[in-house]
């Protein structure tokens, strides 16, 4: 990935959710964090498709947890943001803020 790559909207949201959850970030908590903060319905598939893509880009790393009975004996896969992921999130956020700067979104365009 080059240092000019920007995140898509949902990719950005997922990375921010991972940063909020720190070491508790796995599919269920990421999905719930996004749902509770954005008030939008999010499927587990959407979360994993995005996490898989971000991991291939090098923005996210993952590791296997221990199997637990409440998961039918299956292990969790925890996710964390890499330095490249944090840089990409900052870059995307700065681009977004510079586009919004000076616009009175609610007052002028509603």
């Amino acid at each position: 990935m080059t240092d000019r790559d920007y995140l898509g909207e949902f990719e950005h949201i997922v990375i921010l959710a991972l940063l909020r959850l720190t070491d508790r970030a796995y599919g269920v908590t990421v999905r719930r964090e996004i749902e509770s903060r954005t008030k939008r319905d999010v499927s587990i598939g959407a979360v994993y498709a995005t996490l898989d893509r971000l991991e291939k880009k090098g923005y996210v790393k993952s590791w296997r947890g221990e199997p637990t009975p409440e998961r039918g004996g299956r292990a969790k896969r925890f996710f964390g943001v890499t330095a490249a992921g944090i840089a990409a999130a900052n870059r995307t956020q700065q681009a977004f803020e510079s586009m919004v700067e000076g616009l009175d979104l609610i007052g002028s365009y509603s």
Binding site: I44, Y48, A49, D52, R71, G72, R74, A75, K76
Partner: protein, 212 residues
């Protein structure tokens, strides 16, 4: 031995299908997440609501992950589908040519020749079916990680072609009896998908054993 209530387990069909479409390294985590949320929802809203939620999220997961897999490698997926289509044409041409050549060459002067010829003709649908399963195997082996996307795409194309051809024939001839044969043309796509599912399942099990 104490038996668990059937509703404490998530819908089996959905739980069986999800790993066919999800990357092997994520299957366990996805199924575990679905299971965890299913059990929590079952306590809050009951078994039926939890099962509905599970089926809906399993379907959404399949669609999202399959679409993501295609977007990740559109060229190799397309090549695998086209290659599978050409391979199917080749494989389907083999049984008639091979078996009829044998009966014509070696059994022509045998009194049971005609009976053998009829047997060969009767067995052709089975040979086509087995040939399609073989094509499903080969295509799935070539499309590692996207076995079900490739075999399902090929299956859908074949189904669409069968429906289009049948409608076209009916439009020309006016004989609607052709439409009754349409479901028969779905056996080859089904065989291809079965081949893909077998390969995918085998790979998933191997992966799980290796990671355990």
């Amino acid at each position: 031995m104490k038996r668990r209530s059937p509703s404490s387990e998530p819908p089996r069909l959905a739980a069986w299908i999800v790993p066919l479409f999800t990357p092997a390294e994520l299957s366990e985590a996805i199924l575990g997440d679905l299971h965890e949320e299913y059990l929590q929802l079952r306590l809050k809203a009951g078994g039926k609501a939890a099962s509905r939620w599970y089926n809906r999220h399993a379907l959404q997961t399949i669609v999202k992950v399959a679409a993501s897999g295609f977007r990740g490698a559109p060229l190799s997926t397309t090549i695998a589908v086209v290659g599978g289509f050409l391979l199917l044409r080749f494989v389907h041409a083999l049984p008639d040519k091979f078996l009829l050549a044998i009966t014509d060459r070696y059994l022509m002067f045998w009194s049971g020749h005609f009976q053998t010829y009829l047997w060969v003709l009767r067995a052709l649908p089975i040979e086509y079916f087995l040939g399609s399963v073989l094509v499903g195997f080969v295509v799935a082996l070539a499309a590692k990680g996207r076995e079900m996307i490739v075999t399902l795409t090929l299956g859908f194309i074949l189904c669409a072609m069968a429906v289009a051809a049948s409608v076209w024939i009916v439009a020309i001839t006016g004989d609607t009896s052709f439409l009754w044969n349409v479901p028969l043309h779905f056996t080859d796509p089904l065989a291809i998908v079965i081949g893909g599912a077998v390969v995918r399942r085998h790979r998933s099990v191997g992966r799980l054993v290796a990671s355990a």
